[in-house]
Amino acid sequence: MKDRLKPYRPTLHPGTRAFPGQSADEKVVFIIRKHWIVDFAILTTTFFAVFWPLILYFIVNLVWPIPHTVYIDAGIVIMHLYVLFALFWYYVKWIDHRLDLIIFTDRRMVDINQTRLFDRRISEANLAQIQDVNSGVKGFWPTMLHYGKLNIQTAGPEGNVFEMTYVRWPSLVASTIIELRDNYTKREHIPQSPSPTP
């Protein structure tokens, strides 16, 4: 059977730390990232937003050949700076999505939530604290491309909910998380926490 969660399983050299704060004996089981459709959408937007001056220049030059003057050259230098900053803008936009991660190790889950370049939230919970995992796929493209929303509810005084959108195969991920929690609680002889009351 095809392992649909293969993209989530990192291939790491022994002793390599996948994220800051990982213990030496802690094994990363899988890392949940957003679906490739998010990368595709951002990369397509980036291409047109960043390179439109270049595309426009070529089209205009084909129709009305642009004379080579010092003003055009100065404009091109300014365009270089525009492209540099536009590239940076979209790179950061892409990072905001790409660095939204939920990392599952053999003992805990770490949720890294990147909102902006200088705004990042990291939360973690022990695997035994996981109480409920929900998944949902809504809409035409999510159904066709198998992505959706994942909610992980944990026990504790605050009753944290870890949420992620654009997760590939969300129902499969949800059942794997439950399996991971059950294996962990069995291994560590931890009694299962009761499910949350609706």
Partner: protein
Amino acid sequence: MLTLILIYSGIVLIWAILSVIAIQQVYTYAYKTDTLSRSLTYIYIVVGILLVINGFRMLLGLNIDQLMQ
């Protein structure tokens, strides 16, 4: 001419500092586990450096006297 070079270098320096901060985050959270992040970051660095060099080359080739007329 020197003023223009200084302005250009200053803007490029701001871009470089912001880029280093962004790349540092990719390096910390995704470098070892995500090939796509690594590849796109390399492309970003290479394209960025090429743009800076080409922009600088064009700036040095500008005829300032003609521009100021």
